[in-house]
Amino acid sequence: MEYFKSGLKSVLGAPQPGQQPSGADTVERLIQRVQTSTLLEDRRDACRALKALSKTYRLEVGAHGMDTLCYELVQDRNDSETIGYTLDALCNVLSPETFEEEEERGTDSVGGQFTEIFIKQSQNVTLVLEMLEEFEFHVRWPAVKLLSSMLAHRAREVQELVLTSPMGVSKLMDLLSDSREVIRNDALLLLISLTKGNANIQKIVAFENAFDRLFEVIASEGGLDGGIVVEDCLLLMYNLLRANPSNQNFFKEGSFIQKLTPMLQPGSEDGWAAQRAANCHALLQVLRTLVAPANPAQATSACQQIMRGSGLLGSLSDSLMASGVPADVLTETVCAVAEVMRGCGENQTFFSQVMAPSNPPRPALVVLLMSMVNEKQPLALRCAVLYCFQCFLHRNQDGQAQLAQTLLPATTEQVSGVTSGTLLCGGLFSPDTLTNWFSCVALSHSLVDNPGTKEQLLRVQLAPAEGHPGVHLLPQCLALLQQAQRPQTRLGLLQLLAQWLAHCSAAVGHLLSTPNAVAHLTAVVCDVSEEELVRGLSAFVLGLCVAFNDDAVVSFGRLALVQLINKRIGTEAFLDRVADVTRHEAYAKAAKHPQPTAATVADLLLDHEFCRLLKALENVVARAVAPKPEEVVEQVGSAQYKVLIRQQDEQLAQLSRQLSQVTVERDHLAAQVSQLAAQVAQLRDQNSVLKAAADEGGLQARVAELQQQVAKAAADQEDLLELMDDQEAKLTKYRNRLKQLGEKVEDDDEVEDEVAALTAQVVIN
């Protein structure tokens, strides 16, 4: 009826005052009725009428009725019908849309202004959140829509208000389990806008089992083949995980990554409906956010391991090689594969072994590179392949070496057909500048932080045609650099050279001994008509030739180059050219993220790794080209010092080896000494003990012996004395007999003496 009335008005013109109540008057009267009526039925009717008028007379209802409507939410809280009308009316007033029937089309932000007024009273938001607990459809649904409208206008404030109202987020989460699909789906949309950019809400939503709920909804809607609700679920998942390490950890720990794998299985039947493509795209976004290069390395690598282990990387590789995949999905899949293997050795090895189902079978990497150097492929896909290849080589010394191997003579004969190396070298000569650029940048990544491949590529020879003598790759690049007109090709070549020369004196030597190379670079740096970036990069390459110069090329020794730069370009100007690069828009863009992105072909100028190199070596180059006076002296002698230092290093190493040897020996000897000392002491003790024992025993024996001797001697003496007495008696007898016989007897004394002598002898014995 109201619609009819307003239609009439627009046809007949505004009614004359006094004739008929104007819309504004009606609204005013209805508001008064809500405020003053004592009967619930009257208030309900008035609310219903206000709801009906709230589109046409949005301004009036909003401006005059806001407070009344808010109050009504409290006053008649138990009457769900009234509350339903009230919420509907508020929904219209706060809506971000502009209604057709709206009478005074205000500015676009009418809804925004009313939202601002509405949320100024924070209890209003709490009130609406409480309405969510009401099961009645015509209360719960408008409450969800009202919150969505508020979020559309004032996301940040409403997020904070939801956080501060008790269990606000929990109430919203319960809506995902509502059996009425309209409410569940609108709640999904509400949660998507509620979680955007607010880590605290994201965490609470995750805590409230959001991932479980979402996987349930996705499964019930038929997985990736399901409708837009599946996409919404995945978008919410993405919101919850993006740049939120805590939720990512929760997702990983809750084994949710494993639930993503089966979803990637090929679709049920014929091909790719638009919605399946959108769902798949959203799914790939979800898994990419788990392994984003910006995440903490530890978290990323844990997710990468799980993704390989659960077969997700395998499924991704399969869908990469499947036919009929829409271009944007394919592009996103390539990027996903890239990030799942970036810097993760096992995953890189896994992917290097994936074969494309072509005839003859080729490695998937080669097939991808073929589309990169094919100018007919979409730009986004080519960029994605470059990114994938870069991620494959990122911190992958084996992969880098393998690429170099495919270019070395020994193996090229064995491996017939296309290899990644030959594709890229071929790309250098392509007439398409973007192919040149892609090939240069891809090749340069085989050199990043890898002294081995820098040396290997120096040995690579290219034969421009059958039978021609080969030309080495580096001089070939320099020749291309001098021939090329277009900046994109030249920038590609200069970046390749820069990666090559950095920390590699051999490469610098090769460049300096190539005729015209230095002259060309110097000329470009001086040429005002050249592109800023080309001049800057040329200067940087020249600077690298100074910084990593080992004075092997006599005519372009370090000092000679410094003087040349100073004379021809001027040191200040030279450094300004290098600094120009870092101030360039392209530099800021490329340095920000490892993934190369471009809206148009011309946007691709600088590579992320190159920007990192430039940042790291800018100062090194500056110091090499403009040394302080005392440094000049040092530099002149630095080669000698280097030799000296190397010798001293060797000496030092030798001496320390000797020292350690001697130390070991000494320790050994010291041990021996102490052992011997212990032995000696032991022996000495033993000895003295034995000696003591021996002394005691000997003396006793000797005493006994001597006593025996003495006893024997005494006995002998006794015998002798007896014998002597006998003899004396005999003598006396014989003497007497002789006397008697008249014989002259010898001197008595003589006999006496003889006897005395005998006696003495006996005594002595």
Binding site: L163, S177, N200, E216, S246, S255
Partner: protein, 212 residues
């Protein structure tokens, strides 16, 4: 990776009592003397074994600062266990326990197991709260009590595991309704009864959502 049960925990208590350090010690077995202030909530997880069953603990470490109180309150409802932590060297953190407990009891489900933890037991010399006081408080409010040191790892394992044991016992006694995920308990994928997900049972749970 598979588990019989999954329990959700929260760690609450004043700022600076060592909540994040307790979690780090439990999940990573390391101690960080200087720890950034927790903003909002941080997540950690670990597997333990009770009664021969694998149990996954998902732990939300909350910010102790008053400013985050309304955020951290959102985590009470869905948790099966809570570690309420104070610092034995700071009496005020002990004095605030009543407020914390009221908050927890008001917002959580009534069966939530609460473990009272006096942390920093390695700093005996600076002790301000006696062990007996902690014990008395726990007895009075029906909590389990333990003194821990996140620095030396003393009792840290025990604190988390004993809480889990208590939850586990309550499940065995049938106190927890394990099919209602709002209790902070989930049955492992292969341990669920006949149908693993209960999509149609959501409505009842949703209506009774405001059970606390």
């Amino acid at each position: 990776m598979s588990y019989a049960y999954l329990f959700k925990y929260i760690i609450i208590g004043d700022t600076g009592v060592g909540k994040s350090c307790l979690l780090l010690q439990f999940t990573d077995k390391r101690f960080q003397p200087v720890h950034d202030l927790t903003i909002g909530v941080e997540f950690g997880a670990r597997m333990i074994t009770i009664d021969g069953k694998q149990i996954k603990l998902q732990i939300w470490d909350t910010a102790g600062q008053e400013a985050f109180r309304s955020i951290t309150r959102s985590y009470y409802r869905g948790a099966a266990g809570a570690l309420l932590v104070y610092d034995i060297t700071r009496r005020d953190t002990f004095n605030h326990l009543t407020t914390w407990l009221e908050d927890a009891r008001q917002h959580s489900n009534s069966n939530m197991v609460i473990m009272l933890i006096g942390n920093k037991s390695d700093l005996e010399g600076r002790r301000e709260v006696k062990r007996e006081e902690g014990e008395a408080f726990a007895r009075e409010h029906g909590l389990i009590f333990m003194e821990t040191s996140a620095k030396t790892a003393a009792n840290v394992e025990e604190a988390f595991i004993n809480t889990a044991k208590e939850v586990y016992e309550k499940i065995q006694e049938g106190v927890f309704d394990i099919n209602n995920e709002a209790n902070g308990i989930k049955i492992g994928p292969q341990h669920s009864p006949t149908n693993p997900s209960l999509p149609s049972g959501g409505q009842g749970g949703m209506q009774g959502g405001g059970c606390c």
